[in-house]
């Protein structure tokens, strides 16, 4: 089970409280996690990645095991701690603006 931590505004949009738990088939990558997230919570489509290009929105970052993986290939395997559910996959909004 993969744990995903969403920004507060996206938790509200998805009508969830706390972390999200997802079943993700191997290989577990940023892309497959986001695909599973958007399939389970379709109202999040377009809010994290562009609808068409699936590129990450500029003011968001992906973190795994305290590492910013936003600029790595979305098809790179995620760390074992994420796959096993010991560590969450973070989607974080930039601290910017008002």
């Amino acid at each position: 089970m993969i744990l995903v931590v969403l920004p507060a505004h996206l938790r509200t949009l998805a009508h969830v409280q706390g972390d999200v738990q997802l079943e993700v088939a191997a290989p577990v990558t940023a892309r497959s996690v986001l695909d599973a997230l958007e399939a389970r919570y379709p109202m999040l489509r377009g809010t994290i990645r562009d609808h068409v290009t699936l590129e990450r929105r500029p003011f968001l970052r992906y973190f795994a095991c305290e590492q910013d993986i936003s600029f790595e290939s979305p098809d790179a395997p995620l760390p074992e701690a994420i796959i096993s559910g010991r560590e969450p996959f973070f989607i974080i909004g930039a601290i910017a603006g008002g």
Binding site: P7, A8, H9, L10, L13, H15, E38, A39, R40, P42, M43, L44, R45, G46, T47, I48, H51, V52, R57, F59, L60, G93, A94, G97
Partner: protein, 389 residues
């Protein structure tokens, strides 16, 4: 007794203000979608319980929300909360936030005159159909017109506008290249007017398939060709439902009027203290009575002399009177943005406007006197009002 329901979009959420026909005692509900920018909310004239809202964020992009119970509950159209994962091959959900330009988007001009790709940023204005509760138009940045015919679930661009031969020369105004005004003609269902900052006004006579610039008579000395076919920074257009061919415009500078569906315009700024401003609207029962809020200048987006004044013309322009009763007449430095004025259909007509200082002012007597319904909201982006039975 009839009621008024005022829909307020702000920088940090939406608010709904309701009162009976006297419009003296108001109930305030919200914030809805707190923390998000609500560029615009508007109810369907056919089904007033149905309200569309544009929820947007620099972080998370565009979200369309819809209420079918007058704003009590909201859904993203086609994606009810809690619905289970769609089966493989079934109709995809989450499409209501998807605004994709038709075909190759191409380029328009950037501020410096260089080509710049057309990029969707947000929905500025939602205009529900006058006859079908499932049809709603969206004016977006970068400027284009979209339509949904299924209650906001799916959006299709009416690309004839963006593909107009002048489109590659359109440039953004200071607020971005936004399509902010959509007027539907109640007497001719194929006629649509739109306005774009800073391209100008356009009219379609075939339900949005093809478009004609309607900017003859506009004069903008701050652009290379002051009388150009396009390039004018139109801030807002309004008309009265009984006379849809008579248009009133607040341009960047100048208040303008057209008596022939935009084919030509003449200035009616008259004795206004400044003819810069954003909002303009028409009295519900007096088609020659119009309202503006003069703003000092494009460099100083606040009222002249720190006095917040609505100006009313009962002659369709040129002769204006200041309406000050109940409005702050000193130390007021708020702005009133282009979508932040509305009129109800009650008698006497009610007029409403919101400020960047978070006040929403209402007049229940055609503008003679004003009261603040609320004073401390986030900066107000839009105000609409529904007149309910």
């Amino acid at each position: 007794m009839s009621k008024a329901r005022v829909l307020v979009g702000t920088r940090k959420g939406a608010f709904i203000l309701t009162a009976d026909g006297k419009r003296q005692n108001w109930e305030v509900s919200g914030p809805y979608f707190s923390g998000w920018e609500l560029y615009h909310l508007k109810g369907s004239p056919v089904n007033p319980g149905r309200i569309f809202a544009s929820q947007t964020s620099g972080w998370f992009g565009q979200v369309i929300q819809r209420s079918d119970d007058g704003g009590k509950t909201w859904i993203q159209p086609g994606t009810p909360p809690g619905e289970s994962t769609p089966a493989p091959g079934s109709m995809p959900k989450g499409e209501s936030n998807k605004f994709v330009y038709e075909g190759v988007a191409g380029t328009h001009k950037w501020y410096d005159g260089t080509p710049h790709p057309w990029e969707f940023k947000r929905v500025w204005h939602l205009e529900p159909s006058l006859s079908d509760p499932d049809t709603v138009y969206a004016g977006v940045e970068d400027a284009a017109l979209f339509v949904s015919r299924d209650g906001g679930q799916n959006w299709k661009e009416l690309s004839g506008l963006r593909r107009h031969s002048t489109g590659q020369n359109w440039q953004p105004g200071a607020g971005g290249m936004c399509l902010h005004t959509i007027l539907l003609d109640p007497k001719n269902h194929k006629r649509i007017y739109v306005a774009i900052s800073a391209a100008g006004a356009f009219r379609s006579d075939d339900a949005g398939q093809t478009w004609k610039p309607i900017n003859k008579g506009l004069h903008s000395p701050y652009i290379p060709d002051p009388d150009a076919e396009v390039g004018h920074c139109v801030h807002r257009i309004a008309h009265h439902p009984s006379r849809p061919d008579v248009l009133f415009m607040q341009k960047h500078w100048d208040v303008m009027r057209s008596d022939n569906a935009g084919d030509s315009w003449r200035e009616v700024s008259g004795n206004l203290p400044t003819d810069f401003g954003f909002v303009i609207d028409v009295h519900a029962h007096e088609p020659e009575t119009i309202f503006v809020v003069p703003i000092k200048s494009d460099g100083e987006h606040f009222p002249p002399e720190g006095k917040l004044r609505v100006y009313r013309s009962r002659t369709g322009g040129n002769d204006w009177e200041a309406l000050t009763k109940g409005l702050p007449q000193k130390d007021c430095y708020v702005d009133v943005l282009r979508d932040a004025m509305a009129v109800d259909r009650l008698d006497p007509c009610g007029i409403y406007f919101g400020t960047t200082g978070g006040q929403v002012y209402a007049s229940a007597d055609g503008g003679d006197s004003w009261n603040a319904i609320v004073r401390d909201l986030p900066a107000v982006l839009s105000v609409e009002v529904q007149t309910l039975p």
